[in-house]
């Protein structure tokens, strides 16, 4: 063995040690506020510039201000407000029912073996059939009214909510089960304090997929089988070649999707605040 020497570069003369220079940071720097808006704003600017320069065919891609003017006109003296409300109601009811069903079934299947035997296989089977393929059958069963649309949206929503929540409930860390046994928790206390909080991250994954699914279902339903609502408005606009109205519809869909996703994220951040502290 050799003796360990601490290597502080031999100080031949005072001041010969090189001063430490901070190393170049390799990780990207701090985010700027609202940075994610930069890309879309750039696209918008390019669109406006191209329109102003007359580079775009107004019949194919109308200028941003034309779209805004159409939006204002449709809102004040058209049916846009009622159409948006109709669409929101469909998506909202469908989402709420799908969410409740997904969570309920996941709890039944995740917390009891009997429940799992009855529910899980059935849902897996349901999942194998693309929900939009059920549309003809549901129209025959429920008619072409609101009930059928809400039902289809609910099915589109409940599947990802169920799958993710059930997987999270079933995948609970066995070490935590053992801990709960050692601490003498009752079954209800175990479910409330260990199983459900542990499954929340998985539930939120399902929730976000469900939100996306509800808008997707809405768009498809409204564009093929509706006589009111945002999608119907766009469908009609297609017949009259009104791209500005179609863009208004897309804009509103986009805003609704963005707002709902942000809302879910916000709730998720609040509820799962403990996750941000995990170092590993």
């Amino acid at each position: 063995m050799t003796a360990v020497t601490t290597t502080t570069a031999a100080p031949t003369e005072a001041g010969a040690l090189p001063p430490v220079r901070r190393r170049r940071r390799l990780a990207p720097g701090r985010r700027w506020p609202a940075a994610r808006l930069a890309g879309p704003l750039l696209v918008l600017a390019a669109w406006a510039a191209a329109s102003a320069a007359g580079q775009l065919d107004p019949a194919a891609i109308p200028a941003p201000w034309t779209v805004l003017r159409t939006l204002g006109r449709l809102w004040t003296d058209g049916t846009l407000a009622t159409d948006v409300l109709t669409s929101l109601r469909r998506a909202g009811y469908g989402f709420a029912i799908g969410l409740a069903a997904g969570v309920l079934l996941a709890l039944v299947a995740g917390l009891s073996r009997t429940g799992e035997a009855l529910v899980d296989g059935t849902v897996q089977l349901n999942r194998a059939i693309p929900t939009l393929g059920l549309i003809p059958l549901f129209i025959l069963w429920l008619g072409i009214g609101e009930t059928f649309k809400v039902a289809i949206i609910a099915i589109v929503v409940y599947i990802p909510v169920y799958l993710n929540t059930h997987a999270a409930l079933a995948g609970i860390d066995s070490r935590y089960v053992e801990l709960a046994e050692v601490q003498g928790l009752s079954k209800p206390a175990f479910v409330r304090r260990v199983v459900i909080p542990g499954a929340l991250p998985g539930f939120f994954v399902g929730l976000r997929l469900g939100v996306t699914g509800s808008w997707l279902g809405l768009v498809v339903l409204e564009q093929i089988n509706a006589t009111s609502g945002l999608g119907y408005l766009m469908f009609q606009a297609q017949n009259y070649g009104r791209t500005d109205i179609i863009l208004v519809g897309l804009l509103i869909y986009g805003v609704l999707g963005l707002v709902s996703d942000s809302a879910v994220r916000l709730v998720e951040r609040r509820v799962l605040s403990w996750r941000r502290t995990l170092s590993s």
Partner: protein, 244 residues
């Protein structure tokens, strides 16, 4: 720190002819053991010798494991695991009082945290604690229930050497104040000698060596007389001169 000699006569744990096997492979093979109430015992054994299996049998955690034999243990048993096993979604204090109900649970939890040196960290998330702090919180959770028996399965195995020594002092101190029976599983011979008053070696499914350590506390790792115990234990564990 009154001596609890009268308690020492009453057994806290009694195991008779304990057998446990996994898929036909016998791990515990007719093991007999008695732990007097209030004794601090350490259990050594090679990796895979069945220490955790024994501990889990005493804690009643071995559902579905094949085996026979008689196990008697107190009602109030606490277990400390190698990982602190704090629920990441509950704050530290809520973790400590997990499963504790009735009035005063929170107050007792606070007191237990203060006792392990974590006063002021009640509202922290487990993810914010260092390894040593998390293990302290786990000790507080084990002790707040005033267990008659504390089972600890390599509770310091994942800590760095310095933190481990601190935790040794803490555990011994807590034991002297509360006097539960302790069964500490460890793979560290020195840890066993410094902490325990009796050291067991698990070997071929039974207690192969049962050694009383009659030295005053606190003990230091450098105490020369402890070397004799170390030799005997290492020999029982099958560590030969050549291995060292």
């Amino acid at each position: 720190m009154a001596p609890h000699t009268e308690q020492l006569t009453r057994p806290a744990v009694r195991l008779r002819d304990l057998k446990r096997s996994f898929g036909g492979r016998t791990v515990l093979d007719g093991l007999d053991l008695e732990l007097p109430a209030g004794q601090f015992t350490a259990l050594l054994g090679r990796s895979g010798s069945g220490k955790s299996t024994l501990l889990r049998a005493i804690a009643g955690l071995d559902h579905g494991v094949a085996g026979t034999g008689h196990v008697a243990a107190p009602r109030r048993v606490s277990v400390a695991f190698q990982d602190s096993r704090l629920l990441p979604w509950r704050r530290v204090l809520d973790n400590v009082v997990l499963g504790l109900d009735g009035k005063g649970a929170v107050e007792r939890g606070r007191a237990a945290l203060a006792e392990v040196g974590l006063a002021g960290r009640e509202r922290a998330w487990p993810g914010e604690l260092s390894g040593g702090e998390a293990q302290r919180a786990a000790l507080a959770r084990a002790l707040v229930r005033e267990p008659e028996l504390l089972l600890a399965d390599e509770p310091f195995g994942a800590l760095d050497a310095l933190t481990r020594i601190r935790m040794h002092h803490l555990l011994r101190e807590l034991w002297e104040r509360h006097r539960p029976s302790v069964l500490l599983v460890t793979h560290d011979v020195d840890e066993a000698i410094v902490l325990a008053d009796r050291v067991l070696v698990l070997e071929r499914g039974r207690i192969g060596l049962d050694l009383a350590i009659d030295r005053p506390h606190p003990r230091s790792y450098r105490e020369p007389l402890l070397g004799e115990y170390r030799e005997r234990l290492l020999a029982a564990l099958g560590v030969t001169e050549d291995d060292r």
